[in-house]
């Protein structure tokens, strides 16, 4: 038996461990970084035009849902209708952060699937995404009216997650004020 011939077994074993772990993961578990901290500041053009800009000042005074998305992101497509639904059911405005995308593709995507966003910040280089700790898309943040991040969902929102945590969370924040 030669060691190089054992390599495939080792690789496959590692793969199986990873996949097994992937199966056991609960997608709604949330990482704790950023929660309870002020939303990182930013100043970006909007998706519609380079002349209009949006900054973190937009969060002052109302509870906001921030959704990081991209037109190339398959998971974003899956959660898109839920984002629309959350906004409709809670009345909370959704600010989009379009991440590492092109204007053309992003606008076409919104045209295709509908636009639930009050406004979309355009971040083609992903710089603001880095400040917000976005490893990849989609990610969704609940930002309180003083600009503090209250909750974060990494990955696509599921329907259970929306019904069981996100919507109650948003309603609770709304009532608290």
């Amino acid at each position: 038996m030669r060691w190089r011939l054992i390599m495939p077994v080792v690789v496959v074993f590692a793969l199986i461990v990873m996949l097994g772990y992937g199966l056991t993961r609960n997608p709604s578990e949330l990482p704790s970084a950023f929660i309870g901290k002020p939303a990182p500041s930013f100043d970006l053009p909007t998706l519609d035009s380079d002349r209009e800009r949006i900054t973190d000042a937009a969060f002052q005074g109302s509870i906001t849902l921030v959704n990081v998305w991209a037109s190339w992101c398959v998971a974003c497509r899956a959660e898109h209708e839920l984002i629309t639904e959350i906004s409709r059911r809670t009345g909370v405005p959704v600010v989009g952060l379009n991440y590492k995308d092109t204007r053309e593709a992003a606008l076409r995507w919104l045209g295709r699937y509908g636009n639930p966003f009050a406004v979309v910040a355009f971040d083609p280089a992903g710089e603001v995404g880095i400040d917000w700790g976005v490893a990849a898309v989609p990610e969704t943040f609940v930002v309180d009216r003083d600009g503090t991040i209250r909750y974060k969902v990494v990955g696509a929102i599921t329907r259970e997650e929306m019904n069981d945590t996100l919507i109650p969370k948003l309603r609770q924040l709304k009532q608290a004020s």
Binding site: M1, R2, V12, I16, R25, G111, R112, A135, G155
Partner: protein, 657 residues
């Protein structure tokens, strides 16, 4: 009653699959010819049982038997009968039944061809396939029974996923699965080689046609999948790097590598353990594809039912099958490569080695991108999605050199080729390719650019070199060309056609999103689209708004397109059916977005030059594989097989005595 017959047939199939796998392996270990002889009849019996189950489920769909839960979930009385039959593989349980039925068909084919193989080899191959089949049967019967009943039966079914109500779906999954499952034959041959310890030219001659056949099916399946996505998803794209697409693409890449590596092993007797490893990997990736699609660990536009127990079962099965065979490989493979000679860089085997490296690295890249979200999750980096930016970045640099190599394939001789030979034969195709690269986009589309020209030169290179070889061989000779040579030339030309299609649609494809009210016009790349309005139409199981668009070029009407927005009655889902004017040099593609205020609609218009060439290339390659498959060499194998493994026959003879 009929679903119960199907259910019972599945149990019988499981019993036969166990017999098919256990007894022959015992026979090999103990040299018992009577045990070996069981394999073929068991395979035939298993096929019959699975066919009975498949027909039973099809009938339940045809007869709208909603007491069968699976039928109730995936069909509807309003669904046209052909979609009701295709709905058999519209979701998880039925897909598995299709998978197993096709596996049994391959086993049947092996059993039918087994007279030309030494009995030990044929029985061992069937035993391995039986074991795989048994694993899937257990999975189906205990976690995903398609015949489960539900009382009281619902009055109406939930309907087939509207995305799947497309003619492409009727043939795409069976083709894809034929390819996936077909690699099980190559896998079974590889395991047989490891068990018997022989990888000789006879072994490769038996393995090659099966591998090529599986590859042809997979090529057609992947191509049809791309076509379906283009027609049905309404984004004007032909490949989305979706996990489910990648799941079919990875075995294709490794299968392509396997076909080439088998050629080297047959002709030169080298790369033996590599070939065996590729055969195992191709099937492992097919299984992995099943796992990814069925377990729900990845989010996908194709999202099917998700259920963790199923995922765990498939993963355990994967671990046993792939882990076990790789362990066997680690123990037995060292004997294969004793005393091989070094490979010259300028030789066909050197070229094919490079080809294999590129293909396998590409497959590894796709695998990494597909699984990265799972890795990231496991390492605590969150659940994420890796998009086309990654895949395009890794994939293009890997495919370009591969296509350059394709052109050299026919010219390169085994063992060693002189550089002058390459030069004297390749300058003409290169010249043709350059002329084509400059002229083709310009003549067909009236424009050109660096990406387009480079892509056309590359594609033209693959086509011209393939044709050069065929013409040179035909010149001055009356004998017919070997089918293998013609097949290879066609397959390689198909790659060229594909590359031209991809580069031109990427370079010159354009789209336009526009708000149109009836009577308004929009123009794109010199085509003028007039929106005449929409009308309301009721389909068998949906209601639709059908748009009417007149397309004019230079004031003259060239097409009238009818894109649809459908709303399916049972599920309430809306679907876009694009209106497409297909052509050899360009597609015009209109799809309806959302209704806006008044009678206006948001409309997307696409101009897709040469997009058909992408699928034409895929089908051409598959045709090449089919022609290679009909080569006389494989039909002669009967005689060859009888002479080679004399020792096996002797052993079996002693056992019989």
């Amino acid at each position: 009653m009929i679903p119960e017959i199907g259910h019972f047939a599945l149990f019988l199939a499981l019993g036969l699959a166990l017999v098919q796998s256990v007894l022959p392996l015992y026979g090999i270990a103990r040299n018992r010819a009577d045990c070996l002889a069981v394999a073929a009849p068991a395979a035939i019996g298993q096929f019959v049982m699975l066919a009975v189950a498949f027909v039973a489920l099809s009938f339940a769909f045809y007869a709208n038997d909603f007491s069968v839960t699976y039928v109730a979930q995936n069909s509807n009385t309003e669904l046209p009968w052909f979609y009701r039959l295709a709905a058999v593989w519209g979701a998880h349980e039925g897909s598995l039944l299709l998978w197993m039925t096709l596996l049994a068909s391959w086993s049947l084919a092996v059993a039918a061809a087994s007279r030309s193989l030494p009995r030990e080899v044929a029985s061992c191959v069937l035993a391995v396939m039986g074991a795989v089949s048994a694993g899937f049967l257990v999975f189906t019967l205990f976690t995903s029974n398609p015949f489960a009943r539900e009382f009281p039966a619902p009055a109406e079914g939930r309907d087939l996923n509207p995305l799947l109500q497309d003619p492409g779906l009727v043939i795409h999954p069976p083709m894809l699965y034929m390819g996936y499952v077909g690699f099980c034959v190559a896998f079974a041959f590889a395991i047989t080689a490891l068990i018997t310890g022989r990888v000789d030219s006879a072994w490769t001659r038996w393995t090659r046609p099966w591998t090529t056949a599986a590859w042809v099916f997979l090529t057609v399946g992947v191509t049809l999948g791309s076509w379906w996505a283009y027609n049905e998803l309404g984004w004007g794209g032909w490949w989305f790097w979706d996990p489910v697409e990648n799941a079919s693409f990875m075995p294709w890449l490794v299968g392509t590598a396997l076909i080439h590596s088998l050629a080297v092993t047959e002709k030169r007797g080298i790369f033996k353990s590599w070939t065996v490893l590729l055969a195992i990997t191709a099937f492992a990736l097919s299984l992995l594809g099943t796992f990814l699609v069925r377990s729900g660990v990845l989010i996908s536009v194709h999202a099917f039912a998700t259920d963790p127990t199923r995922g765990i079962y498939i993963l355990a099965f994967f671990a046993i099958v792939v882990g076990g065979s790789l362990l066997l490989y680690a123990i037995r493979a060292p004997r294969f490569d004793a005393g091989t000679e070094p490979v010259a860089a300028l030789s066909r085997e050197g070229l094919l080695l490079l080809n294999n490296i590129f293909l396998v690295v590409a497959a590894a890249g796709v695998l990494l991108g597909t699984l990265y979200p799972i890795f990231a999750d496991a390492l605590g980096m969150g659940r994420i999605s890796v998009g086309p930016p990654y895949f395009n970045k890794i994939f293009i640099p890997l495919t370009v050199p591969l296509v350059v190599l394709v052109g050299v394939a026919a010219v390169m001789a085994w063992k060693r080729t002189r550089a002058e030979v390459l030069r004297s034969r390749l300058w003409a195709p290169l010249l043709v390719a350059i002329v084509l690269g400059v002229l083709l986009p310009w003549l067909a589309l009236g424009t050109n650019g660096i990406v387009a020209a480079a892509g056309c030169v590359l594609g033209g290179w693959a086509i011209a070199t393939a044709l050069e070889d065929v013409f040179r061989r035909m010149r001055g000779r009356r004998v017919k060309l070997p089918r293998g040579v013609v097949g290879m030339a066609l397959a390689h030309a198909g790659v060229g056609v594909f590359v031209i299609g991809v580069s031109l649609v990427t370079a010159f494809g354009s789209e336009h999103d526009v708000r149109l009210a009836p009577g308004e016009r929009a123009s794109l790349d010199g085509y003028d689209f007039t929106f005449k309005g929409t009308r309301h139409v009721e389909g068998p199981n949906f209601v639709a708004e059908i748009g009417d668009f007149i397309v004019r070029e230079d004031g003259e009407q060239i097409a009238e397109l009818f894109p649809e927005k459908r709303r399916y009655n049972a599920s309430g889902q809306t679907m876009t059916e694009s209106g497409i004017d297909a052509g050899i040099f360009r597609d015009l593609y209109v799809s309806l977005g959302e209704p806006l205020s008044g009678d206006a609609w948001s409309v997307r218009i696409y101009h897709r030059p040469f997009v058909r060439w992408i699928w034409a290339g895929g089908f051409l390659s598959a045709l090449g594989g089919l022609i290679a498959l009909s080569d006389k060499r494989y039909r002669r194998r009967e005689r060859a097989a009888k002479t080679v493994p004399a020792d096996t026959r002797a052993r079996v003879a002693t056992a019989e005595a």
